[in-house]
Symmetry: C2
Subunit: 413 residues, 2 copies
């Protein structure tokens, strides 16, 4: 099937989903979840084929782990789909209505986006997660996963499609692009008229490729060069806890801290405890000259280190003369994801919140909280780092748009 044909099927499905209603959508989600579990053997066999190829190609153990499915993981994926069914339906809500002086009543109604394209990398669980979120928000989806997971994705998509067909949902509801070539991905990025929004999920390379090539509207996600700024007046223990949590609780994720800015007059106790904690947690420090003088195990930072998302036990560290130097540094080097100040000073806290330009700006809490579940959205399809449409964790509401509903009785202008 060509991408255009898939696009046409998706548009048809989107029309169906638009008015399918919450009960039917939830039934479909439960059917999908049950099918994933009852046909786990098929999916596991396909996954084994992916794993075999990946091992042959010398995939790293951590990547292999991400690619691997087990019965338990499939049950967890199915539970995730059921959890999406339990979330409130975002579609159909009236976001406000006014009566104009001429008697027209103008309402703003939340409606689905239509057809959502998602391009992602090696994790097969994304296939079910995204399908569930799109279905619950009445969007058809066209999924294009990485070639490393193609057998697993194909098996999961097939299982879900059959379950959807059995409950009367159209074939275009959830579709997988089976051709994982770069050309097909580029074609998908230019499928204007069929794809309403394209969401890339993956590393900086994928995001950049989509931004450069896409002609359909895109929501950029995920790259996080997140900073913690430790102010002069602060609780040293709290500051160390937050930095260590943000850096080391899960270094490979986008809301992990990558850079630490310290006021030159921050408490001596903070400098000492922070140093000890980094050594203990085996975090490699790339420091500015002041830090390298203070902590002789630190490696001198290059300019590029301050723009690097290490995604590892490494952190760039720099002292600043005042809060504005910290804010300017963050606005220049950050990726608009999550930024934090640790301070006891009211004015500085508010100033930081006002002036830092990012999706999530924190006072005295770890950047690791930038996450759909932690924000109370129940689930997320990604974390937007652009300003248009959605910013920060994107839940079901971010997969919707609105239309104006205007009721008149013959008004002309």
């Amino acid at each position: 099937m060509t991408l255009i044909e898939m696009g046409q099927r998706a548009k048809e499905a989107a029309r169906f989903l638009n008015t399918a209603g919450t009960f039917r959508k939830n039934d479909a989600l439960f059917a999908m979840a049950d099918a994933l579990v009852t046909r786990a053997d098929l999916i596991l066999a396909a996954n084994e084929a992916d794993i075999a190829v990946a091992r042959e190609n010398g995939m790293s153990e951590s990547m292999l782990d991400r690619l691997t499915l087990t019965s338990e993981r499939i049950c967890a994926i199915a539970d995730g789909v059921r959890a999406v069914a339990a979330l409130p339906d975002p579609v159909g809500e009236t976001l406000g209505e006014v009566r104009r002086p001429n008697g027209l009543r103008i309402a703003k109604r939340r409606v689905p986006l239509g057809v959502i394209g998602v391009i992602y990398e090696a994790r097969p669980n994304v296939t079910a997660d995204v399908a569930a979120l799109c279905l619950k928000s009445s969007n058809a989806c066209i999924l294009r996963g990485g070639k490393e997971a193609i057998s697993s994705n194909r098996a999961m998509a097939q299982v879900m499609a059959q379950a959807l067909e059995e409950v009367g949902f159209p074939a275009g509801t959830v579709q997988l692009v089976e051709d994982t070539s770069r050309e097909t991905a580029t074609e998908m990025m230019r499928l204007n008229g069929y794809i309403d929004v394209l969401i890339p999920r993956g590393g900086a390379g994928l995001i950049q490729s989509v931004v450069q090539n896409a002609t359909v509207p895109v929501i950029e996600t995920g790259t996080g060069n997140c900073h913690i700024y430790v102010d002069a007046e602060c609780d040293p223990d709290m500051a160390v806890d937050i930095v260590i949590n943000a850096k080391t609780s899960r270094p490979s994720v986008c809301n992990a801290a990558e850079s630490l800015l310290i006021h030159k007059n921050a408490p001596v106790a903070f400098y000492e405890k922070m140093r000890t904690a980094f050594i203990q947690k085996k975090v490699e420090v790339r420091g500015c000259p002041v830090i390298c003088d203070l902590w002789n195990e630190a490696i001198p930072a290059t300019e590029a280190d301050f723009d690097t998302e290490f995604l590892d036990y490494m952190i760039s560290v720099k002292t600043v003369n005042n809060i504005d130097e910290a804010i300017d540094h963050i606005n220049a080097h950050g990726t608009g994801h999550s930024e934090c100040i640790v301070t006891e000073n009211y004015t500085n806290a508010e100033h930081f919140l006002d002036c830092v330009d990012a999706a999530a700006v924190y006072v005295n809490a770890s950047t690791r909280f930038t996450d759909g579940n932690e924000f109370g959205f129940g689930a997320e399809i990604g974390i937007s780092t652009q300003k248009m449409h959605a910013r920060g964790p994107m839940g079901l509401q971010e997969l919707t748009t609105f239309k104006y509903i205007i009721r008149g009785n013959g008004q002309v202008r």
Copy 2:
């Protein structure tokens, strides 16, 4: 100055504007408005130069009229700027705050987009309108008008920039791209890292060029292939009034109707009165075979006529067998702008509102109301026909985004 340098200046200005506050922004808007009036001579002289060139190049009278400024028109433009000052400031509003179980307080705060690029065509008033809307919403703007209006635009931009400088606003607040070459426009469409959102205002050619070339996020505006569907049960007089108003009150605008769909069993009185009204108003009908049989002055419609935004005293007309045929036709041929049903049938009205996929869906009112002023927004920067971020008339709120403000007391994950 290069576009990159303009981008840097705009980013600096955006940081200033972010915290400038309503009073200072309003002062700046009044200063801009006053300067436009007191220095009208300079602007009028520049406009005369544009007009002279345009006449030489054989510009049509209607286009010349759009290009022409007079003292009265400059006063009206200045009044428009003052009206923007009087609108509520959208920036800084808290859109909700929750307390999470771990004690984190997560608020959603409305903030400016940052730097807005606008590419537009021959109307010089756009220069002041857009500058005012961007400033009020705390956004810096980079404007690129058409070459036909370059002298007028340059004069207006210069007058506004000087007024802004006098009240202490940075030079990057309002900037005009003086090079009107296509290459520079393309470069502007790819100014990632400097332009947060690009809004093209103009004809279908401009919009398509931006969609194809831009790598910065874009809000598509303006193309409107708007339909009126006249249902079987309807008030014939109301239907004729709405069609005539939507088609002829201002045929050159995007919310004008371009296509009429009629239920085959619509009242005979409607068919007769509609025909008479079209003849009276000199509207050329491009009809389907049924219509051409009924109205022998009608010209047979080609398939392309149903996808054409005539922007003139022309309309495509087609009979349909039922409401779903009308809805399918609209969803296939519409541009997602404004669509209307004229009906007295409750179920059909709601069905049309539910199923038509467009920014504004009307029952029993003219599509001409899709407009920022008519919607009560006070002003508009354009009418979005895409689904991401903004849909329909875009006022000040649509020129903002939000950020999450998270207040903790040491939370880690």
